[in-house]
Amino acid sequence: MPVTLKIAFRNIKEHKSKSLIVGILLAVGAFVVVLGNSFIDASKSGIRSSFTDNYTGDVFVSGISEDGDVSLFGVMSPGGMASTPTIPDYEKTLAMITSSPSVAKATGMATGYAIVTKEANEETSQDSSGILSQADVKAASRQSVTESTPENSQSQPTPGAKEDKKDIREKISPNMRFLFLFGIDASNYWDVFNAVELTAGSRLQPGQVGIIIYDKFLDMISKSIGRPLKVGDTIVIQGMSSMGFKLREVPIVGTYRQRGEGTMPEQLAFIDINTLRVMAGMTVGASETIKLSEENTNMLSTENPDDLFGGDLLATSSTTTGFDESKIQAQLADKSASIKANEADTGAWQYIVIRTKQPSDSKRVIKELNEYFGKEKIAAVAGDWQKAAGPYGQSVDVLRIVFTVAVAILFIVAIIIIMNTFVISVVERTGEIGTMRAMGADKSFVRKLFAAESLTLSLVFSSAGALLATLVVLVIRLLRIPAGNMFFEVLFGGKYLSPFVTPVNFLGTILAMSLVGFLAHLYPLSIALKIEPVKAMQSE
């Protein structure tokens, strides 16, 4: 064994109290980091598998919006009012995607939000303030998704969580049922996602109009609208988009239950793509430019509101044209604009979700697709499940960032304490270091000696801390501690606390703590290197 290591080991053993101070700090640091990361990894893994298995696939392609990032929940824009862009050159893009050897399956889809109303010709369930905004509906629907994601919408929430849910629902409307709609390509969607199992009826067929609803949620809807619902019945849903409100009567073609209990929000319903397109404003009329006359354009562009009521406008209007009833009737009889506004744009798709042959292929596929989009100047972008999951995917990263900042602070404190302990050790060993220098030890020997000491301490104690954390993780898994409420279910990626320690977490933490030990020894080392051999003569 090299003499530096021999001296380092024995010094650690000899100076037990100092070694313990430094060691316990390093061990606690490693313990906290490994344990914290084990929960974050479990959370990320839970959310990831929930999203990739049920909603997003391995790769997610969307159009590009100037208002914000596009996710499965629409455009993440302030107020949530921006419309979700469609993918340009859909057929060409899909053909390119499916031709990739790494892609197993791909399907187009679009999403939207809707409220189930009592009858098409009755008032919708609204609160006293009148019509709900699109943002309100999105917010309520998103909350519902969060409550049920990633696992176990069936579990009993805590009283607090229940109150929270009740609050927002009561606030918006007491009898309202929201739906998060997946407008699917019935020809191949079920090949890509197999997370649901039909309990009644049939899957949507290509060209068929209809909706498939979660069976338990259908019971809730039945209670809300006051009549029993079953497969074959119709329900009226109200959708909101930038094109306005749309009411549609759709037949219930099936009900489903989740294969993995609680893996999807109960509000999720699968609807034929054309109905979704109309409700989400993806219509032929939406893409048409309305041409105004010069007179109307001038009127709308005036900066002074008084001009709207100016004499010239009224005088010209009354004297030159007058009231022409036949003209008004003709205009009212012309329903072409209305028809176009209600005619689905059959080529419009908001997303393409892709299942790669191996999950590990996703990064490469994303890179290839984005290069292709750039080269072909297609306004689309490919991303991973986190992009698709929008705020839910980012929440894991936010959690990790917060944790990392906390750990960084812990590291800095640890470095300062360890550094001070090492400085005391150097001062106490001035004579010893001076003696070594006098006998012919060069500065590199002193460097090795201190590095060996700090690294030995770091490795031994951080390994102990990491091992202890791994044991605690194992015990937690064995105890099957319930997450308790929805927040912790999302946070811990399941019904029970199921943290796990990855090799990267374990080894990375030991390396990081060794780095902490190494950094902490640099300042004391600089003091040690300044010790002249003559100090050997002065030691008592």
């Binding site: 003696t435 006998m439 060069d442 500065k443």
Partner: protein
């Protein structure tokens, strides 16, 4: 030419705003195989001169030549190599490495240099040294398990392990009782005779000085006597204890 030569060496230490001259123009030469005592009272400059010969301190002016080589222009690395290959140190407080046992302490200087020795040869040499200093029974003991005299014996063996030309000993008997001190000096004398190693030691103990065959006596940073036993009847016959220490 001596193995050590000092030519008009001065050493000035800054002490706050004033400067204190510890050595004020010292010149002498030491021959190979000398057993030399640098004697004088406290503050005479003994340790300062020993430090400069040991290349762990530099003169303010003048020259220090070791084995004919002027040392003032040497870099830190060269000085380190020189100390390792040419010089051995015995310290007043023994300065053993506390976590190493007797055998390991003696071995330690051999592990510092680039020259590697055969394991068997090394073991034989270290065991011989341990036997010479009378610590065969104690070679597995740590310094804190030894008496002062035993520790200084370890320090002597350690100073000799690299087979240096010169061993410097700064007040090697200061922390020992007189009987043990005499034994240590006798041991150094014995090794001096056997290995022809030059021993330079500082002391203010008259009995110890009397054992040396070359004395350099200092007072206030100046050499007041440079004598060899039998070389010059007027100087070589040492005075009694009082004059030997200059006190």
């Amino acid at each position: 030419m001596g193995i050590v030569e000092l030519k008009d060496v001065h050493k000035v230490y800054p002490l706050g705003k004033v400067e204190v001259a510890a050595v004020k123009g010292v010149s002498f030469a030491i021959e190979k195989g000398d057993f030399i005592s640098i004697a004088g009272p406290s503050g005479a400059g003994k340790s300062t001169i020993l430090n400069m010969i040991g290349l762990i301190d530099k003169p303010s002016s003048g020259e220090v030549l070791i084995d004919g080589k002027e040392t003032s222009g040497l870099s830190d690395k060269e000085l380190t190599r020189f100390r390792h290959e040419v010089l051995g140190f015995v310290f007043q407080s023994f300065n053993l490495i506390p976590v190493l046992n007797v055998w390991e302490n003696i071995e330690f200087p051999l592990l510092l240099g680039k020259t590697r020795i055969e394991k068997s040869e090394k073991e034989e040499w270290i065991n011989w040294l341990i036997q010479e200093v009378g610590l065969t029974e104690w070679k597995a003991h740590k310094p804190n398990e030894l008496s002062g005299g035993q520790r200084q014996r370890v320090a002597i063996a350690r100073a000799l392990v690299t087979k240096p030309y010169i061993v410097l000993a700064d007040e090697p008997t200061a922390n020992l009782d007189s009987a043990t001190g005499e034994q240590i000096i006798e041991l150094m004398k014995k090794i001096n005779r056997e290995l022809q190693t030059t021993f330079i030691f500082s002391t203010h103990d008259a009995k110890i000085v009397a054992i040396a065959d070359h004395i350099i006596r200092l007072r206030d940073g100046l050499v007041i006597e440079d004598s060899r036993r039998g070389a010059d009847p007027t100087q070589a016959e040492y005075a009694g204890a009082d004059s030997a220490t200059g006190e």
